[in-house]
Symmetry: C2
Subunit: 143 residues, 2 copies
DNA sequence: AAAGATTGAGGTATCAATCTTT
DNA sequence: AAAGATTGATACCTCAATCTTT
């Protein structure tokens, strides 16, 4: 095992196996698709629990145009609210609501447990650490 | 950085960034979506360059029902051929054609180069190795 | 009845075109 | 003209129902 191809191929496979598991689990237990969970998580981590649509598109896994529709769905469910940006009338904020924060907090423990079981379960602490650092480097490099 | 969550979240982000890049590059240069490339790669690696639909569904990143449609598309493009399984009339083989093999071989160098640049580029050989081994362990564990 | 495979219906995501504000 | 954002059209993917063979 030496070429980056092997690592990348394994990443594709792990994603293909685990993402659907997490998605189904989040829907079943909390009515949250993984795409919603992802957006809520990014908003929760942002200063003021808010991000412009563009910033959200860059932070989340969803594409820029997908984010528009996800935020509309989340707003319809009361988990997010859209707010004007007083500094620039072109841009819009997506803001996490109290309800959204509550739903997210309910979902996080189960999500972490599933990840720990399915992903972390067979790896040493050191391995987990190296993987996290390495993938963070890949991200930092491109964008 | 210690929890498996950080590693998993980074994996999601890397996938979200790199998969579209590779997909666009494969389409542009070779007319092959990443999903096609994935199926062709699995068939090329299989004994006799053939797999039953179920085996292909397990090997590839596509779901079982998606594989049916992908193989139909690939057969329409002449890159794959469907063959009866003489041992069991329920099952069908997807077989890589000479054309499919040629197209795959043309695409592989560019694919490897893009992965090397975008993924392996910023990592040491040791990091790449640990990531590949760790992700392989995760896969072996679940399925 | 279970296993291999396909398919109709519907959900999910992307692209390119568009609208508005800077 | 460029940046922020949305949207119509379309491609992509999954679920559950179905068909056939074991």
């Amino acid at each position: 095992v030496e070429s980056p191809i092997d690592a990348w191929t394994a990443l594709l496979r792990v994603h293909a196996v685990l993402a659907p598991i997490l998605d189904r689990e989040l829907r079943r237990a909390h009515g949250l698709p993984l795409s919603w969970f992802d957006v809520l998580t990014e908003l929760d981590a942002a200063p003021g629990r808010r991000l412009t649509m563009t910033a959200l598109g860059e932070a989340a896994t969803a594409s820029r145009s997908r984010v528009s529709r996800l935020v509309d769905e989340l707003a319809g469910a009361g988990l997010v609210r859209k707010e004007a940006n007083p500094a620039d009338a072109r841009s819009a904020y997506a803001v996490l609501t109290a309800d959204g924060r509550r739903r997210l907090r309910q979902a996080v423990p189960g999500y972490r447990a599933t990840v720990a079981r399915e992903f972390g379960g067979r790896l040493s602490a050191r391995e987990v650490d190296v993987v996290a650092r390495a993938l963070a480097k890949v991200l930092a490099a491109d964008r």
